[in-house]
């Protein structure tokens, strides 16, 4: 029993979310004959890549003990810029989008660092403000891509694999390595785990947080650009609620809201779990509204199981 527990608990072995992902995979393979095919798996990866990119950055910020609610709005702004600025040339449009993401992240990070205001509040403000900026810029209009290379890129493949999926997986690998193998990654855990101890150890905790906010801003913009290439267009409401899906995926992957604990591999599992569930239920023709109900229920269930495994004595709040 104890060995089973330590196995499920993760540690050096396998994370619970991956057991769940494998179980879902097997389940839907049995339930739907269309599920298990290269085409569908590619499909899942492409669908997942948007939330996935947001979740990579969000994992860093959440391990840091912060949160970023502005990722959905940043994604929307980047998408609008990437499409709207195409008359100035594709390179300018894409670089401007990515720069916008970095600037928004830097502003969030600087405010959290210098004022000490809770990241939840700061980025909530940014979420509202940036969405406003999108409307200011687009005048509530949807934009359609004029550059064909841009649209082709979203549908292109290398061999049998879609480029968007490859970009997402490559970013995942890089982010995994940076978190696990670099001093920045180590400091990210330390700052989230115990900011006071981190500061006493001479770690520049403000700078560490700032870098992570810039990272999440960059990935939000990247996700926005790539999503726009998929759609060949941008809408002012693009990215609404994406912050919630992102946080859901990251938390499913075992990253703690309190900071100091989490992993990119877990986040990948969380993102895939949501992607597979949506895709699989779609194949089984579950009505869309029920899909949401099931996703919500699963999130809570997984977190309860996770808590039980981690703290054997946890019984919730007493009295």
């Amino acid at each position: 029993m104890t060995t089973l527990k330590s196995f499920l608990r993760g540690g050096a072995f396998i994370q619970p979310i991956w057991i769940f992902v494998i179980a879902l995979f097997v389940f839907f393979s049995l339930m739907s004959e269309y599920f298990l095919s290269l085409g569908n798996i590619n499909n899942i990866l492409v669908q997942t890549s948007t939330i996935g990119l947001l979740a990579l950055g969000m994992t860093y910020v959440m391990i840091n003990g912060n949160i970023d609610l502005s990722v959905g709005a940043t994604l929307g702004l980047a998408a609008s810029l990437a499409v709207g600025l195409q008359p100035l040339g594709l390179t300018v449009a894409v670089l401007a989008s990515l720069a916008a993401g970095i600037v928004i992240g830097a502003i969030n990070g600087l405010i959290v660092w210098k004022t000490g205001v809770n990241a939840f509040i700061v980025t909530l403000g940014a979420m509202i403000g940036v969405r406003g900026l999108i409307f200011v810029y687009t005048q509530e209009q949807s934009f359609y891509a004029s550059n064909f290379a841009f649209v082709d890129f979203g549908a292109s493949t290398i061999g049998p694999f879609p480029v968007l999926a490859i970009i997402f997986l490559a970013c995942t690998l890089i982010m995994h390595l940076v978190l696990k193998k670099t001093g920045h990654g180590r400091n990210t855990f330390a700052v989230g785990g115990n900011p006071e101890a981190a500061m006493d150890a001479g770690i520049r905790i403000g700078r560490n947080m700032l870098i992570n906010f810039i990272i999440v801003g960059f990935f939000a913009a990247l996700a926005g650009v790539l999503l726009a290439t998929q759609m060949g267009a941008s809408t002012p409401n693009l990215g609404r609620d994406y912050e919630l899906w992102t946080i859901t995926a990251v938390v499913l992957g075992g990253t703690k809201l309190t900071g100091g604990h989490g992993s990119i591999s877990g986040t990948l599992g969380g993102v895939l779990a949501i992607g597979i569930l949506r895709n699989g239920m779609n194949m089984m023709q579950v009505p869309a509204f029920y899909v949401l109900v099931i996703l919500g229920a699963i999130l809570i269930t997984v977190l309860i199981i996770d808590q039980r495994l981690n703290v054997p004595t946890a019984k919730g709040v007493r009295a």
Binding site: R186, A197, G202
Partner: protein, 515 residues
């Protein structure tokens, strides 16, 4: 004297018999017996980690004892929860306060037992009337309608005590009640205690301050390393014999000799003043020397250390490190300049509990075990192995989360973390707080060895045996000032006690101080 004899005849209202409490790997209490008579103040003494708090937690139902009996009014009792103990009339006044700051005084006093009227509505009239009555009994000069967050620490403590009086208590335990009080606030507390005493309440009084204990208590019981060493009548003893009971063998355990060869000054502090914290603090620490900074909690010792470390900014004076004036704007600057601070509170400030041993060990010196930002895990392991062996850290593996280690081993990890940065000045704030006697001696020996190898060491402590046993010189602090400086091998304990309780200055003993 008649009161004394009455007390001696009275049957104890509470008896703890042969209480044993084991935690994984440690015996916190070994067959400890203790009793309280109605209307007496029974002082409980012992060094940090001697088991006082554990004993009181057993009494208050927070810990289940592994053996022994609790007898309340001739009836054997088992308290499963703090609530049960409270209902039976046992009240603990906590060191750290457990009030809801954004509620009124009255709401706090009656938290969990708010008077109600029909419809389950709060009976505000009665709430305030009852609170006011209790506050008057305690001679408090604030209103039941005041917000707790607006009160001073001393007044907050009064609210805690008022809370205890809601139920008619039989036993009230005061755990270091004066730790955060100023001198003119203390008499009010003493009055309250005497008042309770007159009402026949049994009082357990835990404190490090001898003067208070001798002023208030009728009996003194002493714990040492979880063992009961005896009970004496206060009137028949003196500070020296009580201290003897308290420290006993822990002084003899430490055989390593002190460093004796010193280099030039490494740290020079001149006239250091931080507004509201300390004023005109001056001292020097030489290379290879251990300087002990002795004083009570709140005397400004940790704050001085934090100022040197760049956590606070000073308003006047100067700090020189190896001859150069420094004013660090961040801890990062302090660390890179070669200052290491082993903080007072290991768990809150020293360690990232969720991280493993190795990662905590290298936390302050990542640049030395990485290249181009990437960690070299082999080097990291080598660092951990080196200090693990050198300090005999007991941990199943480097992967072990530090949260699961014992206090002594945790502290060694913190020290190892700093040794790895090769500091020039090592500051240790309460290095052995809450650490068992064995590891304590090891850490003391380690500190001396480090000084002998050339480190300048500043040890902050509120334990007299520690400053006496470890340091070459002792700086006594009281109320944010340095009151005296002593040669550690030629100073009497009474001189030290006077210097840290503010009684020094014109007294003849202080003339013996080497300033």
């Amino acid at each position: 004297m008649t009161a004394m004899t009455q007390n001696a005849e009275a049957r104890p209202v509470l008896e703890l018999v042969d209480i044993t409490k084991r935690f994984p790997g440690v015996v916190a209490l070994n067959k400890v017996s203790f009793d309280v008579r109605p209307g007496e103040v029974h002082a409980l003494l012992g060094e940090n980690g001697a088991g006082k708090s554990t004993l009181m937690k057993v009494l208050a139902g927070k810990h289940r004892p592994n053996g022994g009996k609790i007898i309340l009014e001739d009836e054997e009792r088992v308290f499963d929860t703090p609530k049960e103990a409270k209902r039976s009339g046992i009240v603990l006044i906590h060191q750290e306060q457990s009030l809801v700051p954004e509620m009124s005084v009255a709401e706090n006093i009656f938290l969990g037992s708010t008077p109600r009227k029909w419809g389950n509505r709060v009976d505000w009239k009665r709430l305030h009337a009852d609170s006011t009555e209790i506050l008057e009994r305690l001679k408090c000069d604030f209103s039941s309608r005041d917000l707790v967050s607006s009160l001073s620490i001393a007044k907050k403590q009064m609210v805690e005590i008022a809370r205890a009086l809601v139920f008619t208590p039989k036993i009230v335990v005061f755990d270091e009640p004066t730790a955060s009080l100023t001198d003119h606030e203390k008499p009010v507390l003493y009055d309250v205690i005497r008042n309770l005493q007159a009402q026949g309440v049994g009082i357990v009084y835990i404190s490090h301050r001898m003067d208070e204990i001798f002023q208030l208590s009728q009996r003194i019981s002493v714990l040492r390393d979880g063992e009961y060493t005896g009970t004496v009548n206060t009137a028949e003893t003196d500070e020296e014999s009580v201290t003897q009971m308290m420290i006993g063998r822990s002084l003899e355990l430490d055989h390593a000799s002190k460093p004796s060869e010193f280099g030039g000054p490494m740290l020079e502090v001149r006239g250091l003043t931080v507004k509201g914290v300390c004023s005109d603090v001056s001292f020097t620490v030489r290379k290879g020397e251990i300087v002990g900074m002795y004083g009570l909690v709140g005397a400004g010792r940790s704050e001085v250390a934090e100022t040197i470390f760049g956590l606070r900014h000073y308003t006047a004076g100067e700090i020189r490190l190896d001859g150069q004036v420094v004013d660090f704007r961040s801890t990062h600057d302090a660390v890179t300049s070669g200052i290491a601070l082993v903080p007072e509170d290991r768990k809150d400030q020293g360690l990232v509990l969720g991280m493993n041993c190795r990662d905590n060990m290298t936390l302050a010196g990542l640049s030395t075990v990485s290249s181009f930002g990437f960690m070299k895990s082999r080097d990291e392991r080598a660092v951990y192995d080196r200090y693990q062996q050198a300090m005999k850290i007991k941990s199943p593996s480097w992967r072990q989360r530090v949260g699961n280690l014992s206090g002594g081993n945790q502290q060694k990890i913190v020290i190892g973390k700093w040794l790895h940065t090769h500091p020039r000045l090592l500051i240790l704030d309460e290095p052995t707080r809450g650490i068992d006697v064995g590891s304590k001696a090891e850490i003391h020996a380690l500190i001396k060895e480090l000084a002998r190898s050339g480190y300048a060491v500043l040890v902050i402590s509120s334990e007299m045996p520690e400053v006496l046993g470890v340091s070459n010189r002792i700086i006594a602090m009281y109320d944010g000032r340095v009151t005296a400086e002593f040669d550690a091998d030629n100073v009497g304990e009474d001189q030290l006690v006077q210097a840290i309780t503010g009684m020094t200055g014109s007294t003849p003993q202080a003339a013996g101080a080497v300033v």
